[in-house]
């Protein structure tokens, strides 16, 4: 009897099997933490500009600061509290303190089989509450808070 299939076909099929086996990842390589991505703009010029000093921590979490007198920060990443519908941050720009409060809806989101679940948030429209000691204006650019690298709010100071 003649050969069942040409050698080349068998080689290609075997190769496909090997690729399939070798491409079965079980490790998590994706971003799993959703942040409010806050861009810092200088009100006088309207341009993206890092303040000389930035300190940020959650209200009631003074011992656990996200940014401590940091320089060169143009985009601050602020995680929201998935256990509540509201959380506040103390934002100290160039030594002057303001408070920013976010109100939002939270829902679970599957990142991937390997990375598991995280929480996404929808900021309620016109829900930002903030003091205006150093901050002039804050407005929402994109209200869905995800793991994607997208600007969510702009802070003008």
């Amino acid at each position: 009897m003649k050969k069942l299939a040409p050698t080349k076909v068998l080689l290609i099929i075997s190769g496909l099997i090997l690729i399939l086996i070798s491409c079965t990842p079980e490790s998590c390589f994706e971003e799993t933490e959703p942040f409010v991505k806050a861009s810092l703009y200088l009100q006088a010029t309207g341009r993206l500009l890092a303040p000389d000093s930035l300190t940020v921590y959650g209200v009631g979490m003074v011992k656990d600061t996200l940014y401590k007198k940091a320089a060169g920060v143009t985009i601050a990443n602020l995680p929201l509290n998935a256990g509540t519908h509201e959380c506040s941050y103390v934002v100290k720009i160039n030594g002057i303190t303001d408070t920013v409060t976010f109100r939002y809806n939270t829902y679970p989101y599957l990142v991937s089989k390997e990375c598991g679940f995280t929480f996404y948030h929808d900021l309620f429209p016109d829900s930002l509450v903030y003091t205006r000691h150093k901050i002039d204006t804050i407005y929402i650019r994109k209200n869905v808070i995800t793991t994607l690298n997208e600007e969510n709010i702009r802070i003008f100071y």
Partner: protein, 250 residues
Amino acid sequence: MRRTSVYFISLLVVTICGFRQIKAQDTLLIPLKIKVGLEVSGPATYYIEKKNLSTEGYIAVDLNEKTTALLGAGYLNYKYSQYNYDYQSSGIFLKAGVEFNLLKPEKAMGKYWGGLGLHYGVSMFNSEVPSFYKDNYWGTINSSIPGNTYWGHFIEATPGVRAELFKNFSIGWTISIRMLLYSSAGKAVRPIYFPGFGNGSKTISTGLSYFIAWNIPYKKITVITKKEEPAEEPDDPSKPATTQKSIISQ
């Protein structure tokens, strides 16, 4: 009179053959079969690991020596734990489609299959996340997603091979490349794994299946294969010479 009749009949036969241009030809008798198959790697894995049970079977009918119609069904009971969640799903699926044997009839002989299957699948399943947790700056949140019944629709391409190992008993394997068309679970909490499709957290899933099948011949067809003949000098040089060609008659 008798001699005249013989000459007349001989002349008639020669004339008819001359008009019909019949040339030397090979014929093959190919059996068409009804195939009942069972996927074996799922039950084998369950027997070893005692964790996830995946079963799949099919019934297929040869429409001709190249094309087979297939109807498949299966059941899945799946549990999975990752570092921050537990997941479970169970349900059934149905799929239907056609399979094309790409081997030539003289190589396949009704016993060997090397080709491609194209299927449409529908899955109905219960999906649940009994527990998961998430750590972030504000602390640890424990949560769960209660069980619910969902539907999934997908298409599948299955290249593979099968060979008749014993009389009317064949084995084989296929690679499955599936594309999710629709899941009623939505986009936020997609099913991590569901029957017939596999990893539902991605749009494309792949898999490897090993089948055993019982083949029941139900009909035989004759496949006529014309072997390549020396090209005749064409009267018109623009006309191409005759090459290999298959004609099927039942």
